[in-house]
């Protein structure tokens, strides 16, 4: 006779009952936490563990998929790269053009302001310099054909540039105020003290100013009425006052020119 339940069956039965009890307990715990609106520790453990697994799996599968996609899209990437390079080059060119426009605009504005102030002025452009740099002379692109005459004053938006010393039909030579042969009657604007502005190759020296004039660093020096200029055009500002020699009847000062001679571009010739 075969028994209905064997020892092995009993173990299975106990295992089944135990599982049901544990499951019931888990269910009860879950229900209890669910009723309170909380996540049970078991759920938390499971979801945390599963989350890590999901992340890991996602990374692996994502990597594989990305690698596969990359491999598959190499031909299209090359084309896209070429397109982006072209676009980059176009944008760089556009950027350069805008930068150049930005650099030119202030110069054009300055030129316009000078033209408005001196309506009879002849606009000109500097086209050449002294080849050996021994004379402070520049060549401009306006000459006798444009009614430029010898000794005409030349200015830009910053102040006095120099005077015309040679006139050809198409071009003229302008002696800068920094040349040692340049002499310009000038006035210290604050006190109307007269002097002669002589070039020193790099700067300008205001000489023969009355010893009574209380010159100060920063004083503005302007042109006096003379052969080349009308009064009141800025020459520069006093940067240093030279000590007066014993028994001297006049004093001197170094003027920092208002014009930057290294960046001369557009100038205006002032016919007298």
């Amino acid at each position: 006779m075969v028994p209905i339940f064997t020892y092995r069956d009993e173990r299975k039965l106990f295992a089944l009952i135990a599982t049901i009890i544990v499951a019931s307990l888990i269910a009860l715990v879950q229900l209890e936490y669910a009723r309170d609106g909380k996540t049970s520790p078991l759920s938390l453990a499971v979801t945390t563990l599963s989350a890590y697994l999901e992340i890991a799996l996602s990374a692996v599968s994502g990597g594989v998929q990305h690698a596969a996609d990359s491999t598959a899209s190499v031909p299209s990437l090359y084309g896209e790269n070429q397109r982006l390079r072209g676009e980059n080059a176009r944008l760089r060119t556009e950027n350069d053009a805008l930068g150049e426009q930005l650099a030119i605009t202030p110069s054009e504005d300055a030129r316009r302001r000078v033209l408005e102030r001196f309506a009879n002025g002849i606009p000109a452009t500097v086209i050449g310099y002294d080849p050996e740099n021994v004379m402070r002379v520049v060549t401009i692109d306006r000459g006798a054909n444009a009614r430029v005459n010898r000794d005409d004053g030349v200015i830009n938006d910053d102040g006095v540039v120099g005077r015309v010393v040679e006139v050809d039909p198409l071009t003229s030579k302008v002696l800068l105020i920094t040349d040692v042969t340049s002499k310009l009657p000038s006035v210290v604007q604050r006190g109307r003290w007269w002097g002669i502005a002589n070039g020193t190759m790099t700067r300008v020296k205001l000489q023969y100013v009355s010893q009574d004039a209380p010159l100060k660093v920063g004083d503005r020096v302007v042109t006096g009425e003379g052969r080349s200029f009308h009064a009141g055009i800025l020459v520069g500002t006093i940067s240093r006052i030279e000590p007066m020699p014993a028994g001297g009847l006049d004093q001197s000062a170094i003027i920092e020119p208002a014009v930057s001679f290294g960046r001369l571009d557009h100038v205006l010739v002032l016919p007298k």
């Binding site: 080849p131 010393v165 042969t181 190759m201």
Partner: protein, 193 residues
Amino acid sequence: MAASTTSLSFRSNDREIAAASAPSIALAVGVVALAAILQATLLHVAVIRNATPSLVLIVVVLYALRVGAERGLLIGALGGLFEDALTGGTGGSWTLATALVAIVAGAMSRFFFSDAPQALIIAVALGSLLRSAFFWSIMSLGGYPSGLAATHLHTAILQALYTTLVAIPIILFLARSKERPVRRIKLRDFRST
């Protein structure tokens, strides 16, 4: 047998061959004019402490050393004339000074011939100093203020150094690119026949 390309020779034969194989006067005039224009338009940005390299002087000295005083004088005078025309206010000072330097360089070539770069570099340096001395002497005679003699001396020395530095690569390039041995063989063969 071909002579060395870097040599110092006192034989008149070598001088004649060097002069015969030199560039034509028309080409030299074009080069010296181009040098003057480059100096007036572009090289002002390369000014260091008021000194600028003189391409005109380099061309004149190298050409005069090669072809002698007569043709050198022509190129020197024209080079100086271009500079006077582009400067303004110097009268003919550059013309005279550069022509005098060309005569000196050309006269030196009557006594020896050298295409050694070291000799040419020294010639350019001395030529620059000599030309500045000639120029300022002529300007002083013309009434130019002489109060800045010390400044002009410093500038002249600096310009000689600067010009020499610019001349070195030019001389080395010319030394590498010319084909003197081949020309000598051809000319000698021609003369022997």
